[in-house]
């Protein structure tokens, strides 16, 4: 078990994390059929491969990576939407993955999730009031007038209006639907909000509205957040600390300012260089990483980024590089960092 980055400044006492993920893994068997299995052995996709990190109370962790890195799978593992194949997820010290369903159910109140697609994450046959109200009824036991009143408060808190309770999701724009999804997620007053690419499907001006909303709600209510995105600039706006994922592993983890000021892993450097700024004065950097993101199927030992890495050497392909602190609070999985 290794230490995970703490967002607090060095002179504050050590805080007990709200969430501690330890060695979490999820492997999918994607062998096409019986004959393939007999002839070539099973094909296993190591979607999430032994990752560890912590989230402190009130902190926002940005989980960053491109498609196939395992960040969305991680979100689903933490909330038990899919089952894990290894590791622990400790919520206030208790392993939520090991609990029986009955014991876990009330904890859903504490960990809520907002998804990327505002069009498929809301039940089209329910009115907005019912969608948000259901969460309140189940997790807070509210009924009748108290339920109705609290539902309206939740909608107003995300910038919608009371009469929206009667409408159906299809009557709203993408940005408004994300607000509804956020209202639903925050209704039971969770300690942890997981936002899986919440603004990626939205237009730029609407993205900004939703990001500002998340930021101000966080300031008011002090919940922790895991913000998942492939867009580093968006993550920079909200995150206190950042973990970069590649092919199922965390390759770098540090407080946000440190990561942007001094990225240590070649993949993080490539991600930063690949950003396109709307500033014509900013120098355009050519991306040094060649090829496509690695898909970790039956991975061989060695760094999974080696085949794309501009500074890879022979040793890189021999053993998995451990995730280690090369500087205070700054961990990297690279033997050349």
């Amino acid at each position: 078990m290794r230490a995970a980055p703490v967002a607090a400044t060095p002179d504050l006492p050590r805080i007990t994390p709200l969430l501690a993920v330890e060695d979490l893994s999820k492997t999918f068997d994607i062998t096409p059929g019986l004959v393939d299995r007999m002839m070539h052995g099973p094909r296993m996709l190591h979607a999430v491969d032994g990752i560890s990190f912590t989230v402190n109370p009130g902190e926002t962790l940005g989980l960053v990576g491109e498609s196939g890195c395992g960040k969305s799978t991680t979100a689903r593992l933490i909330t038990r939407l899919i089952s894990s194949t290894g590791g622990r997820v400790l919520l206030r010290g208790q392993d939520v993955l090991a609990m029986p369903q009955r014991e876990f159910a009330p904890l859903r109140k504490s960990m809520q999730i907002v998804f990327q697609d505002p069009f498929s994450s809301l039940n089209p046959r329910k009115r907005v009031g019912q969608i948000v109200g259901r969460s309140l009824a189940i997790h807070m036991g509210l009924r009748g007038a108290a339920l109705a009143e609290r539902t309206i408060e939740c909608l107003v808190a995300v910038g919608l209006s009371p009469d929206h309770v009667y409408r159906y999701p299809h009557e709203f724009s993408g940005g408004q639907r994300q607000r509804i999804a956020i209202a639903r997620a925050l209704a039971p007053e969770p300690e942890l909000l997981i936002a899986d690419e919440p603004v990626s499907a939205l237009d730029v001006s609407v993205q900004a509205q939703v990001l500002n909303l998340l930021r101000s709600l966080k300031e008011q209510r002090h919940f922790s957040m895991i913000f998942i995105s492939h867009n580093l600039s968006v993550v920079e706006y909200l995150a206190d600390s950042i973990a970069v994922m590649y092919a199922g592993k965390i390759v770098e983890a540090a407080p946000a300012e440190q990561l942007f000021a001094k990225p240590l892993h070649p993949y993080t450097q490539a991600l930063l260089a690949a950003r396109s700024e709307p500033d014509p004065h900013a120098p355009v950097r050519r991306v040094e990483a060649k090829g496509e993101p690695t898909i970790p199927i039956n991975p061989k030992p060695g760094c999974r980024f080696a085949s794309r890495c501009p500074i890879a050497i022979a040793e890189c392909s021999q053993a998995d590089p451990p995730l280690e602190a090369k500087e205070p609070s700054h961990e990297v999985a690279c033997i050349r960092a």
């Binding site: 491109e66 498609s67 910038g159 919608l160 209006s161 724009s173 940005g175 408004q176 237009d203 730029v204 001006s205 609407v206 993205q207 900004a208 509205q209 939703v210 990001l211 500002n212 909303l213 930021r215 101000s216 492939h230 867009n231 580093l232 600039s233 968006v234 920079e236 706006y237 946000a256 942007f260 490539a270 991600l271 260089a273 690949a274 950003r275 396109s276 700024e277 709307p278 500033d279 014509p280 004065h281 355009v284 050519r286 991306v287 990483a289 060649k290 090829g291 496509e292 993101p293």
Partner: protein
Amino acid sequence: MEVIGLHVQFTTPRGVINAVNGVSFTLEKGETLGIVGETGSGKSVTAFSLLRLVSNPGRIVGGAIRFEGQDLLSLSERNMRGIRGREIAMIFQEVMTSLDPSYTVGDQLRELLQVHKGHRGREAQAAVIDLLTRVRIASPETVVDRFPHQLSGGMRQRVMIGMALACEPRLLIADEPTTALDTTIQAQILDLLDDVQSELGMAMVFISHDLGVVTRVSDRIAVMYAGRFVEMGDKFQIFDDTLHPYTRGLLDAIPRSGSKTRPLQPVQGTVPDLHHPPSGCPFHPRCARAEARCEIDLPPFQEWRPGHWAACHFAGDFDRSSPSPGEVG
């Protein structure tokens, strides 16, 4: 290329909308014009119009599109076909518009080269490998025997670029070619387009909703809103001397490096329904600078500085008053 007063209408069950409502611009040889806009701005329709690819329920109803002196809108379909793919090529966001899923990449490229350049047999095969190498596909000998679905998104995009460049067109129209790709792959493709453009001396019209990407590839940028250009200039003018409030809004709404301390200032409200466009300036309901006049008079798209155009009564003369956090939108 010279586009003058382009008008494209779409007939929908709810009525007729002006998807492109009087767009004009020029493009010099070797130059890249980036057209940026959000959903419903009309940028993709504009792109398709340049190659007369707009079909039912859409129709080009007005304007002129001159390419090297020739008015494309007055050509016969037969002559237009001679231009498409040869002199003017196009690449799309959805790669499968160009690639047939039932044939291998090699077969499709060979056919293309045979038809357009008259290559035969082994010569065609060599030309195919050469093309794939030019778009930086590793191990092209393996890729020729693959079907499109067996390739990753980035590779398919490279194949599509290869196809578009096979005839060394003088103009490439790129409609959101990198939007669906991962960040590092997107950057690779943009670098590739940059190199290829310099090699061929090719002009490009690059369409995207991403102002960062557009800035990276373009010399000049046009900002589009509700079917019209609201601002156009070289990329430094757009950024350093922004004339239109919507452009300013887009710039302020994008999180940038080092922006953590500065709150994002989103553009309030939503894009208009083109069935019931606002009177006067289409942006006025969302504009912090709007006055009574903006509701009545449509501001003309005019040249406020050399080479820098805008459609606003108060071009450049606006100040964002105290921003309010995101509201109903």
